[in-house]
Symmetry: C2
Subunit: 157 residues, 2 copies
């Protein structure tokens, strides 16, 4: 199992956007994080499609959070970038082979699939409980408010 790298970038971008005043272009977000500008744009497009951020075109355009940071959970960002389908997809191999079960016997979910689904719900629940606003400073020894101010200052350049 491997989570796409774009997910990490998207979460960090949402945190930065929550601390910015106006719209921030993708180019600038990429410069801030030192990552590929073009590929980061792809992740931001996913956030835009999901309605988490609003894309403002034009000369002073950029991305803005479409909701307060406290109302955007980390799960929202992960699902938007990585896709909503669960990691485990039951292929119904219980219906395969000479000992396979008949389709009419498979109304209920497979036991294995149920276990995996429960685990995935636990994972999603943990991510749903944390909002972008809950993510404090990136580094220890500095208050979130102070770092937020520093980020704003850097964005203003």
């Amino acid at each position: 199992m491997k989570l796409a790298a774009g997910v990490e970038w998207a979460i960090h971008c949402c945190v930065v956007l929550s601390r910015a005043d106006g719209p921030v272009p993708a180019q600038r977000l990429a410069e801030f994080h030192g990552v590929s500008p073009t590929y980061l744009a792809k992740s931001l497009q996913a956030l835009s499609r999901a309605g988490l951020v609003a894309a403002l075109e034009g000369r002073v355009g950029g991305y803005v959070l479409s909701r307060p940071a406290a109302e955007i959970s980390v799960l929202d960002v992960v699902l938007a970038v990585d896709g909503p389908e669960p990691a485990f997809r039951c292929t119904e191999i219980r219906q395969n082979g000479p000992f396979g079960a008949k389709p009419e016997e498979c109304q209920e979910m497979c036991s294995v699939a149920r276990v995996m689904a429960n685990a995935e719900n636990a994972w999603r629940g943990a991510l749903a409980e944390v909002s972008i606003a809950d993510i404090g400073a990136y580094v220890a020894g500095i208050t979130p408010a102070a770092q937020a101010e520093a980020v704003r200052a850097w964005l203003a350049n």
Copy 2:
């Protein structure tokens, strides 16, 4: 995020092995589940490397659970086949870019990484609580004991 298909096969194989009496060859497990024999062998090798199953060579060889099914968690199987590294790997992008933090400021884990790690721990915890023995019948309307007997009968052929 996508979980390897071999994980599903491995879990089902462990359940079948827990109900078998003697060793079961990979060829037979593949026939039972109607999947590619050669690729299933690869997943079983992973289980063998992890010490979850014992491989008996020779004419009447095959795979046997090396521990009671109640002492093998689903998490053990998933980690053996899919690898122990977590799905989310922090790339420390907080150290990148002109605003990057210095390495000496990054002794503590990144806030984002911490959130993701907590979620992953919840996921693993849910899988660790379920053992192979806890997985009942694959289909509804049949008791686990009855299906276990049927599986044994099919394996005896």
